[in-house]
């Protein structure tokens, strides 16, 4: 897997953006796909860092392009178990008074990527998602 490892820190977010943007720009990936991929990578990476801040291992991110789409794999060898495919309802229709900040990251990913897989064993989590350009009826 031709990925890159990133220090498990929120400060890695800018470097992760540059890494993934370079790959997708070189392949002329559609802007809307790039936006979603950047968002999903950031949310998943921040999630891994936030839920296990004391861990030491870097987090590996691999970005592959194929047929105008993108497949991203994120591997954390020092992860707490947290199934990102499990639905955690956010009441997006609640009034302002009832809305609570937080929980939107996974909600957005689950609605915006095409596939999302999670595998956890022996302290290693592997998350894979894909995004392809939207097809429009003519």
């Amino acid at each position: 897997m031709a990925g890159q490892s990133f220090k498990r820190s929120i400060d890695s977010v800018a470097g992760i953006y540059r890494f993934s943007e370079e790959i997708m720009a070189a392949a002329d990936i559609d802007e809307s796909v790039r936006f979603t991929v950047h968002l999903a990578i950031e949310e998943l990476f921040v999630n891994l860092v936030s839920y296990n801040p004391g861990a030491e291992h870097d987090i590996l991110i691999d970005v592959q392009v194929a047929n105008n789409g993108v497949v991203v794999t994120i591997v954390d060898h020092d992860a707490a178990e947290f199934d990102v495919t499990k639905e955690r309802p956010v009441d997006t229709g609640a009034s302002l008074r009832e809305r609570k900040p937080g929980g939107l990251g996974l909600h957005l990913i689950q609605h915006m990527v095409d596939t999302l897989e999670y595998d956890y064993r022996d302290g290693r989590s592997r998350i894979r998602f894909s995004k392809e350009p939207e097809t429009r009826d003519v």
Binding site: L39, R99, L108
Partner: protein, 96 residues
């Protein structure tokens, strides 16, 4: 890179990428607001849930005194995020 500052017309202009590493910069300014304000997102390229949380927190706090944020010049990608988040029902939003 993310920047947030007042424009000459009194509106707050946001530009660049409002990601998790930059959200503290947004909170530092928005956390001081105590009246209704317009945010100009024309040059804001990206926002993640960390930025959304700051906007929501600010809107909730302002609403207690009858004030509100209005967000203008929102690009299509960010508007999609707002829609999926239900923000189009709790903010006044104008798209580009």
């Amino acid at each position: 890179m993310f920047e947030i500052d007042y424009a000459e017309n009194g509106e707050i202009v946001c530009s660049g990428r409002l990601d998790a590493a930059q959200s503290a910069k947004a909170e530092a300014l928005l956390g001081r607001l105590d009246t209704s304000q317009t945010l100009d997102f024309e040059r804001l390229e990206y926002i993640s849930s960390a930025g959304l949380a700051i906007l929501l927190k600010t809107q909730k706090r302002l609403s207690e005194s009858g004030a509100a944020l209005r967000i203008i010049n929102v690009n299509k990608h960010i508007y999609d995020i707002f829609r999926y988040s239900g923000f189009n029902a709790i903010f006044e939003i104008e798209t580009l």
